[in-house]
């Protein structure tokens, strides 16, 4: 029997002037019915373009320059666009990464799901409507009738992704291509969506091509794996083999870069608290509704330690970070840095104190002003304190050395750096004022795994060298296990549990903490560093 999908020596050419000639080079693999084939790689590995090539969805200027894509024995690359579209959606379904943008904002999700039926079948209106409701129910969406009538902006990310999957699954395709379908979702939602995809796959016996960068997710779903780097498949084989005994150095490095869910033994600190949050409340009012972003939050950070604040979107963790650096004013409670309650400081008094608590932001691409040289960005804070001229330049160079960047690069602009390098610049900027407390808001979640590992190593070494005290905000329990001494878990504005990382990440007591821990993908797999 022939394979369901067989990609043979596929090459995808990039337009002239791109950073390399081929997005994919000589890629070959096969996917059978009833298996989940994971394509793993970091950004730029060509995994998404390989998937896009199957359905002829390559962006303008990018084209498949060689090889064959055989689906049920037919070479998809030889088909005309209209013929290919007759297969898309019917025999091959596709699910995309970002459910926020994958749906047309101007149509109800019901009509968008129904469109798949309208395109490929001659069913009547009433029957399509029934099928859509059935389908939404299969996707375990509550109140399918209401959901069908809703517009995408009225649904949560998880609900939207279920609708996108419903669209792809409508006609029971033989092959489902899922391009990072859970990357944009919260951990608990991710666990649900992964379960859903696995169930559907098992029940319908379809083949799944699952693209991801996350080895935890791979461990959760894969039957076979291909690892891609720079457009080439470096290794492929059975899931268990590659996860536990990777042969190619790159697969080994990738798996090694994956933070393990094993916190180091807890060493209690007796140092004095450097930051204490006491009974902080913050409510947002929007359209007459009030949302409690922070409810009676109290936390203590001792000098030289790292406190992790872990939660899903909407848990209030980012609001807390903003309160700590006084970007948001809480209504109640106190935030003390050493002995100063910063919530009571006036604008000018705060400006004199800003050096004591500094922040590193999540997105390394938008948190640096693109029109200023990175050296200036890093030293802006000290320049305001009256340091000028050659001293300033020396300081900038020192800071660059500190975060592992070439000091000669201080005259460049942010766009000349990679994501990981920019995050180092953000770190240098925050450290320039020698703060008592560093607040890091998801500093590694926008980075590739291997880069993430480097930045985490840097943070660890800085912590040892400078005795940093840090509040580390993250949604990723694995990362928290790597860097935090203590962890606070937040849900809907409240700290539901706080304790040493070691106990909290191995034996949590609060039901939500347990749910969160259970949802971490690949928990049963012992891999990682």
């Amino acid at each position: 029997m022939t394979a369901l999908l067989s990609i043979e020596n596929l090459s995808i050419a990039l337009p002239r002037g791109a950073d390399r000639a081929h997005a994919a080079k000589d890629v070959s693999f096969t996917i059978d019915r009833g298996e989940v084939f994971c394509v793993v790689g970091e950004s730029g590995s060509g995994k998404s373009l390989t998937a896009a090539a199957i359905l002829g969805l390559l962006p303008p200027g990018v084209r498949a320059s060689g090889g064959r894509i055989l689906f049920e024995g037919q070479d998809l690359l030889q088909l005309s666009l209209p013929d290919l579209r007759r297969i898309s959606g019917k025999r091959i379904g596709m699910v995309f990464q970002d459910p926020m943008t994958a749906l047309n904002p101007l149509h109800t999700v019901g009509s968008q799901v129904a469109e798949t039926f309208r395109i490929h079948t001659s069913l009547g209106r009433a029957e399509i409507a029934d099928r859509v409701l059935d389908l939404l129910e299969t996707m375990r969406l509550p109140e399918p009738r209401q959901i069908a009538r809703a517009y995408p902006h009225e649904l949560s990310g998880g609900q939207r992704q279920r609708c996108v999957i419903a669209m792809a699954m409508a006609l029971e395709p033989a092959l489902l291509i899922a391009d990072e379908p859970t990357t944009a979702l919260d951990v608990t939602t991710q666990a649900q969506i992964l379960g859903l995809i696995r169930d559907l796959q098992a029940r319908r016996g379809m083949g799944v091509m699952f693209i991801t960068h996350d080895f935890g997710v791979v461990a959760e779903v894969a039957t076979r794996i291909a690892v891609m780097r720079q457009g080439e498949v470096v290794e492929q084989g059975e899931a268990a083999t590659i996860l536990n005994r990777p042969r190619h150095p790159y697969s080994q490095a990738l798996i090694a870069a994956m933070p393990a869910l094993r916190p180091p033994p807890y060493q209690p600190s007796t140092a004095a608290p450097v930051l204490s949050v006491e009974g902080v409340h913050k409510t947002y009012r929007r359209r007459g509704r009030t949302v409690a972003a922070l409810k009676d939050v109290s936390l203590t950070l001792r000098r030289g330690t790292t406190l992790g604040v872990v939660g899903e979107s909407g848990s209030g963790k980012s609001t807390l970070a903003r309160c700590l650096v006084k970007l948001v004013e809480p209504e109640q409670g106190a935030i003390r840095v050493l002995d100063t309650d910063i919530t009571r400081l006036s604008g000018s008094a705060w400006r004199a104190q800003t050096g004591r608590i500094q922040m590193v932001f999540q997105d390394p691409f938008t948190s640096l002003n693109p029109r200023r040289r990175v050296g200036d960005l890093v030293t802006q804070g000290i320049a305001m304190r009256g340091i000028r001229g050659p001293d300033l330049k020396d300081r900038a160079e020192d800071l660059f050395r500190l975060v592992g960047l070439d000091p000669a690069a201080i005259d460049r602009f942010p766009h000349e750096f990679s994501g990981g390098q920019r995050q180092r610049i953000g770190l240098a900027r925050a450290l320039a004022l020698e703060p008592d407390v560093l607040v890091a808001d998801e500093p590694v979640s926008a980075l590739d795994l291997s880069v993430q590992a480097q930045v985490l190593d840097l943070l660890a070494s800085l912590r040892r060298k400078l005795g940093l005290s840090m509040v580390f905000i993250t949604h990723d329990l694995r990362v928290a296990a790597q860097v935090c001494d203590r962890v606070a878990i937040m849900q809907r504005g409240e700290v539901v549990e706080e304790g040493p990382a070691e106990t909290l990440l191995t034996a949590p007591t609060h039901p939500y903490s347990r749910e969160l821990l259970a949802a971490v993908p690949g928990r049963g797999w012992a891999g990682g560093r």
């Binding site: 019917k90 994958a102 047309n104 101007l106 669209m167 359209r287």
Partner: protein, 325 residues
């Protein structure tokens, strides 16, 4: 329900808005030296103090400025815009006589510009960076950079004088004495060139906006979803891209409603059409304050009404618009 709430909300905002416009206009016009009576006396060629006094009291120009304003607003409530000094007729009658021509001119040229802009913009976006797009973009730039009166004059030279296909000016052929359908057709024939002239520049704007909007929409993720569903390229374009691209178009069209009124003045002069624009121009020359005020009030109402319509269209197109609060 959602739309009704929007209409009520916008209407409640537009009444104070109209009041402010009225006050600003009224007092601004008072700042100019001389009044209508000065202009009238100047035309008569005499300078009799008692006569001018008599005229001022007749036209209600002898009270205090504030008194005049409150009197004006009071009469406005009963749709009485006062007497035109230059014509000696009620302003409202004059405006209602001229308004249809301007409204027809604006609506037709707006409709033509919008439709043609959409169609050509979509074509340009479909072939972006290929030769059809390049030709369309160059033509659009050319049209955009020419003044509309020049187009009007050139059109008259070509179509009216040289070819004799269309009338050079006016709203209808008085000598022919058409009635009924024939009269309407005659008017339509007279409006072809003015409407084209007025619409051309807006066409160029809409074409560019539509092209950019379409090109941008086509890069969005949900377009890829639609293709992956198996929708053919043409359907992707019409069912998913077009409506999203229309959103910026509608915004721009709303902004243009007022500037189009300004453009109508020029076009009406070029084609000697008896519209609101010409009336306004005459009112300025003759210092016919009542008339000028009447016209501006009328056009503010028109612009506010158009914007209300635009808001409704926008809310119907985009379910994300928040009309509450």
């Amino acid at each position: 329900m959602r739309i009704l709430r929007l209409v009520l909300r916008r209407l409640s905002l537009s009444i104070p808005c109209l009041g402010i416009i009225l006050a600003v206009l009224f007092f601004l016009l008072q700042l100019a030296p001389g009044d209508a009576v000065d202009a009238l006396i100047g035309q008569m060629g005499t300078s009799d103090d008692t006569l001018s006094k008599l005229l001022r009291s007749y036209y209600g120009l002898d009270g205090s400025v504030v008194g005049q304003f409150t009197g004006y607003v009071g009469r406005l409530a009963t749709l009485d815009l006062g007497l035109s000094i230059a014509y000696g007729k009620p302003v409202i009658d004059l405006i209602l006589e001229r308004l249809p021509v301007t409204v027809v001119l604006m609506v037709t040229s707006m409709a033509m510009a919008f439709t043609a802009g959409c169609v050509v913009g979509v074509i340009a976006a479909r072939y972006v960076h290929r030769w059809p797009d390049t030709i369309i973009s160059v033509l659009g730039m050319l049209v955009y950079s020419m003044p509309s009166f020049w187009f009007g004059l050139m059109a008259i030279v070509l179509f009216a004088v040289t070819l004799g296909w269309l009338p050079a000016g006016g709203i209808s052929d008085l000598r022919a004495g058409h009635t009924g359908i024939a009269h309407l057709l005659d008017m339509a024939k007279h409006l072809v060139m003015p409407a084209l002239t007025l619409g051309l520049i807006f066409f160029a704007v809409y074409l560019r906006v539509m092209r950019t909007a379409m090109v941008e929409v086509m890069t969005l993720d949900f377009m890829r979803t639609a293709r992956a569903k198996g929708l053919q390229e043409r359907a992707v374009l019409f069912r998913h891209a077009l409506r999203n691209a229309l959103l910026p178009m509608v915004t721009i069209a709303g902004l243009h409603a007022s500037s189009m009124l300004g453009g109508a003045v020029v076009v009406e002069s070029v084609f000697s059409l008896p519209g609101l624009g010409r009336l306004a121009q005459e009112a300025v020359v003759q210092r016919d304050l009542n008339m000028l005020l009447g016209i501006t009030v009328m056009s503010s109402v028109l612009v506010i009404a158009v914007n209300l319509v635009i808001d409704i269209i926008y809310a119907r197109l985009d379910p994300r618009i928040d009309v509450g609060a």
